[in-house]
Amino acid sequence: MTAIRIEQLIKKYGQQTALHIDHLEIEAGTLTGIVGNNGAGKTTLFRLMLDLIEPTEGQAMIEEQAVAGSDHWKPFTGSYLDEGFLIDFLTPEEYFYFVGKLHGMDPIAVDEKLKVFSRFISDEVVGQKKYIRQLSTGNKQKVGIVAAMMVQPRLLILDEPFNYLDPSSQIMVKRMLKADNEARGTTMLVSSHNLNHLTDICSRVILLEKGKIIKDLTPPQDDLEEVEQYFSIQAEDQDEK
């Protein structure tokens, strides 16, 4: 079953094309990584998929229904892109309860779900009587990731989830994603600058560059050295400039 289908999706800002994907299909239950340099179009793609920006042309579909102008995908989609998804005057607990309630979960159910993430969010986040705006950037990131995952969505979209996290937390995120994908068959779309993180967990890695898909690989069958080489050449080009 196709979870995500993208057809002729174009996003332009003035004359600048931020994203141009002719065709992309993502099967349900796959953990797909999107990798690319800054400005590659990763966040633009996610915003289009969450109907937060309007495509210039084409459409993104979730479970075969167009996302734009529709709410059908919201009950089963969890997402965290940036701090714009956090309500900074709530405490993390209140934020979890609020998001849980939007997905029909009562506080007891939320508490139950949070137990799974107890090691990840640790004592620095919950039970601190701190508002989200008072948390460190890393802890805010944890709140966003947990809120997206705890509702047990069929589709999970995370933009740069490894950013701002300490090495242990990065490993924990990878484990959590992998475990959830295997246990519940969640379709996941995760972006990162770090190729290693994605190759560790993803069954498919898509390389975006200047808004276009330039590689679509399925590790471990496909050799990712090619991608690493691509980024090395890019870096050398930058040095020469």
């Binding site: 969450l50 109907d51 937060l52 920006i53 309007e54 102008g69 709410d71 919201k74 009950p75 989609t77 997402s79 892109l81 940036d82 714009g84 998804f85 956090l86 309500i87 900074d88 005057f89 709530l90 405490t91 607990e93 209140e94 309860y97 609020f98 998001v99 309630k101 939007l102 997905h103 029909g104 601190q128 009587k129 701190k130 508002y131 705006r133 008072q134």
Partner: protein
């Protein structure tokens, strides 16, 4: 400790934080608007000060106007104290970053106290006092009396300033709240039960000022010194709290109101969020906390205003009859700009979100208008019906107008920025929208004029009827607003993301 000039450095930083404050980071149009509003405010006060002598001569024909004014001087500064209690912020700079530096805590506390004097609350009455004393003292009495009267008034303001500073900086608030409430209640009861005694003391104090009686100055001065030293002691202690872990005072879900909202089906989730937004952000809570003042202030104003002039200011009720909602909904949807991406991408229905918001602010307005109507029943009974009619008009017609035009509010605002002089989110279009909302009432006044009843009754009838129609049709215009927002969603969300 370091020998460099810490106060100078701190003052420089204070100036920079003021000069680089967000309210200067505006378009030229909004800056002009800010200057215009400031000028109008000062001009009103100056005109009131200049015309006050005639009014006092009219009301107290046998008393010199400055004596009549002195008899209400203590009332004026009691009102000033209450205003400061609700609105004046504690002089707490972002001091935490200075604490690890080689600066003594005592010096920092001294600096904070000194800087606290540069507050608009210490000067805002002077545009009124100066023209009044110019007319009543400088020429008819003497220049010395003029300056001494100003000095005396400054000292009374300074007592209030010191009292509020102590109150808002001392660690552990309960005792101080009790002390201040007792003080205000005592003064209020004293002034209410024995007004002639209270007015006589007030007049004697004012006359002692212009006579140059040193005791009249010594007592307020002693109070200032006393409360400033208490504040300094309290500030040094408060640093530990400020430099602490930044814990919020309210634990999650501790408020009974929040718990109550949480239990309400369908709208409870949104109401709980709306309430938290109001209570936990400076700008939003700053506006809301002025409402107890308005509930008392408006009936008081109408009590003193002559009955026959009610038609001249009746349209101003539009600003108060909708309670805090009239202010809040001017920036409808911008309050959520920092997290609208979440609202838009989660399992929420835009129409339901707007419906919850409408009910919330209508109920809030009702909770504010009811006590006001009760007070009006005693203070100005002829205004009860117009105010009730205007309540229906504002929560029906004006709220519908603000919701619908609020879709054009695509500016990101931070509800946690300072409340006073915060023009963030204000645009020329918004200014025109508010003017249109206010002047829409004039049309109703014209219709009321032709009805065969008294002005107040006719006005109440017309406003209530139009308001009720819009209240009954609220689901229709809310759906239309939600649809309009849906059409503008991408544009607004993109603007909300702009920092």
């Amino acid at each position: 400790m370091a020998s460099y000039n810490i106060p100078k450095i701190l003052f420089q930083h204070g100036w920079l934080s003021f000069r680089r404050a967000h309210y200067f980071d505006r378009s030229m149009g909004v800056k002009v608007l800010m200057v215009f509003v400031g000028f109008i405010f000062i001009w009103y006060l100056a005109m009131a000060g200049a015309l006050l002598p005639q009014l006092l001569e009219h009301v107290f024909p046998d008393t010199p106007p400055h004596h009549a004014f002195f008899s209400i001087l203590l009332y004026l500064y009691a009102a000033d104290l209450v205003t400061r209690f609700f609105v004046q912020s504690p002089p707490k700079q972002l001091i935490v970053s200075y604490l690890p530096l080689p600066v003594s805590r005592s010096k920092l506390a001294g600096f904070i106290l000194l800087r606290g004097w540069f507050s608009v609350f210490n000067i805002y009455l002077f545009p009124l006092l100066v023209p009044f004393f110019l007319r009543t003292l400088l020429f008819p009495v003497s220049a010395k009396a003029f300056w001494l009267a100003l000095l005396g008034c400054f000292l009374l303001g300074a007592v209030n300033h010191s009292l509020i500073t102590w109150f808002k900086t001392w660690p552990g608030r309960q005792t101080r709240i009790a002390a201040l409430v007792l003080f205000i209640a005592g003064a209020g009861i004293g002034g209410g039960l024995y007004p002639s005694v209270f007015m006589s003391i007030s007049e004697q104090l004012g006359r002692a000022f212009i006579d140059g009686n040193p005791w009249a100055f010594m007592f307020p001065l002693a109070a200032v010194v006393f409360f400033q030293s208490l504040s300094k002691k309290g500030l040094v202690q408060s640093f530990y709290d400020w430099a602490g872990s930044g814990h919020s005072k309210a634990p999650a879900g501790s408020s009974k109101i929040e718990k109550f909202f949480a239990k309400i089906p369908v709208f409870g989730t949104y109401w709980e969020l709306e309430w938290k937004l109001l209570m936990r952000n400076k700008r939003a809570s700053g506006g809301l906390r002025q409402w107890p003042l308005a509930i008392i202030g408006i009936p008081l104003f109408l009590y003193f205003a002559p009955d026959e002039s009610s038609s001249q200011y009746i349209y101003l009720l539009v600003m108060v009859a909708g309670g805090y909602g009239f202010y809040h909904l001017q920036y409808a949807f911008s309050w959520e700009s920092r997290f609208f991406d979440l609202i838009a991408s989660r399992n929420t229905n835009l129409y339901r979100f707007m419906q919850a918001k409408y009910y919330f602010y209508t109920l809030l307005a009702l909770s504010q208008i009811l006590p006001m109507l009760i007070l009006l029943g005693f203070a100005a009974p002829h205004m009860v019906l117009p105010m009730a009619g205007m309540f229906l008009y504002v929560t029906g017609v004006i709220f519908a107008f603000l919701f619908y035009t609020g879709v054009n509010n695509s500016t990101r605002i931070d509800p946690n920025k300072r409340a006073s002089f915060n023009f963030e989110g204000t645009s020329g279009t918004l200014f025109m929208t508010i003017l249109a909302a206010m002047f829409s009432v004039i049309f109703l006044m014209i219709i009321a004029f032709f009805l065969p009843f008294g002005m107040e009754e006719s006005f109440a009838l017309v406003t209530a009827a139009t308001g009720l129609v819009f209240i009954m049709l609220h689901t229709k215009w809310l759906r239309a607003t939600a649809k309009k927002f849906q059409r503008k969603k991408y544009h607004n969300l993109s603007k909300y993301r702009e920092k």
